[in-house]
Symmetry: C2
Subunit: 210 residues, 2 copies
């Protein structure tokens, strides 16, 4: 069973010179339940090398590795899943290529969520929940009402992403998300272990209440 409680999306631009695998390793010990490797500006060979490095770290844990966009890289590194954006491969094509992979899909509204569910996605990442200063190319923020609207439309497991941190994580879960996905709240954290612990506790408490 996929645990989306605390979903880490990597961003090597935020590591401030630290090793990506170190940050992920500490964050997992702190409670991260799912890791997505996202690389946008590197060669295939480098992407694979990063994927294999994370796979090694995750190998002895129950935490699945999800690869952003690239089904071929997910297969080569032995990841458990692939995460597809609206401009990536279709769910159907990905499922045909790799029937055993977890397939996650990014959605920005109810229509995309319904389509993802109809096409057999395993979970959805809904974004942007809140506006973030670093990501200006995304759609209007969903807000808590947007989360609830998507929650009422689909039964798929769903994780919110975009501007989520310790201050608003509980609201995101109470509005209907099964967990939170974060980038900077863990990648840029001074202490990723502690930051993960704190976020995990907030999500767990919010789940108990809802």
């Amino acid at each position: 069973m996929l645990d989306l409680s605390l979903y880490l999306v990597t961003d090597r631009g935020l590591t401030q010179g630290r090793s990506l695998t170190d940050i992920v390793g500490h964050a997992i010990k702190g409670g991260v339940t799912c890791v997505q490797l996202r690389e946008k500006n590197c060669s295939t060979r480098e992407f694979i090398a990063q994927g294999k490095a994370l796979r090694t770290i995750l190998h002895t844990t129950a935490v699945p590795l999800i690869i952003n966009d690239r089904v071929d890289i997910a297969l080569v590194v032995g990841a458990q899943g692939v995460h597809l954006g609206q401009k990536d491969m279709s769910i159907l094509d990905a499922r045909n290529l790799a029937p055993h992979l977890i397939i996650g899909v990014s959605v920005e509204n109810v229509d995309q969520a319904l389509k993802a569910q109809a096409q057999g996605a395993d979970y959805i990442g809904i974004s942007p929940v809140f506006l973030t200063p670093t990501k200006t190319d995304t759609a209007q923020a969903l807000g808590l009402a947007g989360i609830t609207a998507i929650r009422q439309a689909v039964t798929l497991p769903m994780v919110g992403i975009g501007g989520i941190d310790a201050h608003n994580a509980a609201q995101v879960v109470q509005a209907g998300c099964d967990g939170i996905a974060v980038v900077s709240a863990l990648m840029a954290a001074h202490n990723p272990f502690q930051a993960a612990q704190e976020l995990k506790n907030i999500v767990h408490l919010a789940k108990e209440k809802s």
Copy 2:
């Protein structure tokens, strides 16, 4: 049997507003024997759409479609092969993922050619044969002597790429290449059909002589 005589590598930046599929279609009628779809700055979904469009054109011909870099896209569009650069997936990984695909590899020197042969590449693309004004990030030009050195080192089918046009194509074949790969000589040609016919004739004549 793979015919590398006239190998077209696409570049949408050179189409001057014309449709990529139209240019490729005319070039095939003129004698292109192999088509590689190369996309560097588009989404996976758009890359797949281009690949499927070319697959439709090539479907009724004996001309294979080769996808640059992306094994997953090659599989989704039903291409016959994948072309790997030195920073792309390894030959071994690609072969494991897709045993039936033709695997081509870009090499810039004898060592890389020997390695590609040892790892089971189906053909190599050697580059840059000549310097091109538009590509400044590549290694020193191999020249005709460089072609011959690689020809003497490996038995793999090989195609030269980089600055090849009607004026120097014959020399490239006589130096040891099984064919020529071109980008701008066809993609930017005013009449791709005629340009392909001319190049094909030059390669055939040169092959008869060598």
